[in-house]
Assembly symmetry: C2
Homo-oligomer: 338 residues x 2
């Protein structure tokens, strides 16, 4: 029966040694005779002693914890990110503190507060102001995830622009579609901003007039339903709805099908992210695959590396590759292995 009230001094008393020796035995550092080590280990074992985290942290000046700041847990994308980050952190025996800003105004203060309790923080792009990120980076190592902050702050993100441009070209060239509608708010998140840029770039490159302004909605499934409604009630149905992410695309699909339209026959829909559901709907969603979990894991690794060795810090951006995944919703024939 291990009493968690056991302290190193108590163990020292029981084993007839000093606290220093207990610490040495537990951490396996310094010189301790076999006989003494045995006595100490016995006492530790007998009373289930485990060193207190606070004492350790205070002495070491390290918390062995990292923080993750995100706007909210909307949909599979954020869920995957958080799980990827958490897995990696836990593997390194660091505990994970979360702060969900819900885009509150006072979240900047709360982030600063968090910085005092962890060794490093990963911030999802678009969550807090660049100014807050800078203040944060003055206190602890910071890694931006899926988006970027001020220039000096390292970031891990996926390639958005080129992939979205490629997908858009596919619709414009392969399928000969025009007047594509874009669903997503470029000012809402760095990811959407880049995807919108890729969307426009594809039009530019092909010498086409710039696309219509985006339907500015959020990134959740209900937002996609709403966007579809807004597009359809305009009278003329757009030939294709290019969504900023899969969740809005799935929402748009639901909304479009609910109006009795057929996809891709009456309207084409594409997404971005390749969440598991996208391969399962019918028609399966043409989208862009990005390694969401790996993205977050990489952010965690870079953060932990920097924490362990501040000299290893570099403001470099890690950009993970993405690939266009052609399925049925763009009008391509659905293969046996979608």
């Amino acid at each position: 029966m291990g009493n968690s009230r056991m302290t190193a001094r108590e163990i020292a008393r029981l084993a007839g040694v000093s606290v220093a020796t207990v610490s040495r035995v537990w951490n396996g550092v310094g010189q301790v005779s076999e006989e003494t080590r045995r006595r100490v280990l016995e006492a530790i074992e007998a009373h289930g002693y485990r060193p207190d985290h606070l004492g350790k942290a205070l002495a070491a000046g390290r918390h062995n914890a990292v923080g993750l700041v995100f706007p909210g847990l909307s949909g599979p994308y954020f869920s995957e990110l958080i799980q990827g980050f958490e897995s990696e952190a836990v593997q390194s025996r660091a505990s994970v503190h979360i702060l969900c800003t819900h885009l509150r105004e006072d979240s900047d203060d709360q982030v600063i507060e968090m910085a005092r309790r962890v060794d490093g923080i990963t911030v999802l792009g678009g969550t807090i102001s660049d100014d807050a990120v800078r203040r944060l980076a003055d206190m602890v190592p910071v890694v931006m995830l899926a988006g970027s902050g001020p220039d000096q702050v390292p970031a891990v993100r996926a390639e958005n622009t080129a992939a979205m441009a490629e997908l858009t070209r596919h619709l414009l060239v392969e399928h000969g579609l025009r007047n594509l509608a874009f669903v997503g708010n470029p000012d809402g998140s760095p990811d959407v901003s880049e995807r919108w840029a890729g969307f426009r770039a594809a039009h530019d490159e092909l010498g086409l007039p710039p696309p219509a302004p985006p339907i500015r909605v959020g990134l959740q499934q209900p937002d996609g339903v709403y966007a579809a409604e807004r597009l359809l009630e305009r009278g003329t149905v757009p030939p294709a709805i290019v969504c900023a992410n899969d969740e809005t695309a799935l929402g748009a699909l639901v909304g479009v099908l609910g109006r009795g339209l057929r996809v891709p026959r009456d309207v084409v829909i594409t997404g971005f992210d390749d969440v598991p559901m996208s391969a399962l709907v019918s028609p399966p969603l043409t989208t862009v695959r990005q390694p969401i979990r790996e993205l977050a894991a990489e952010a965690a690794r870079r953060l932990l590396t920097t924490v362990a060795d501040p000299a290893a810090a570099s403001p470099e951006h890690t950009v993970l590759p993405t690939t266009v995944v052609i399925r049925g919703s763009c009008g391509c024939p659905v293969g046996p292995n979608p």
Copy 2:
């Protein structure tokens, strides 16, 4: 410009007082003359001093942090839970540690590890073994959320059984349906177990033969798609698919519609939870509304109360009410306000 390296002793030196006085001024306790207080506050202000958490925690024997343990972040249900918990904890200025077990085997140890870093833990039902919960409860206050653990451990959950019985009766009596299929694994989570119990109870009460065994799948949207496929490939389409939660119901809806069947005409589908998407699909989903966020917030409140005053602990279960929400997917006419 606040240097976070400032310590109370440094401030004391600068203000020409002792550390004790700095502490008294910061915490507003004890007697301090107006003149001294002013000098100290000036020094604090000038150097942006904020007391270190570790020192505070070590002295107070309190971490001012709570933990949340959950199996994984699958879908809006868990997302809502986590956000509800986090909001409430942050309001009480407690930081939130998360542990995502992913149903790993070594998660019991990691939970114990977490217990050494927080003042209390909330565990989602079905995440870790009852034995681990007991060991945990010996170390820190524990509140179970959405499910229950060992008897002595307090829990916060929603009413599942009666609501599912009511919904099932609605299908059996109002719509005269028979041979309902249940989708969900009763052994996978306490929630599903209770819902399955309510499903069976409704059959019992009406003197009907017990329902067919459940289609044992997970709780995510793709699981619903898979379940629908399994049900449909049996040849005879069941008149109704009663899903353990909305996400599988939405998945089943996608799967069924993808096969060219119509809902509710060819097959009825119901869910449980009432996630936002459920009101938006067509037909809108008949389901049971449970106050997910409020559930988690209540768990956080009970945990924080117990942490603040261990004498306030009670093994009582808080059960929040649920309500059946009739929409179109069960065959009822869809009103203007679904």
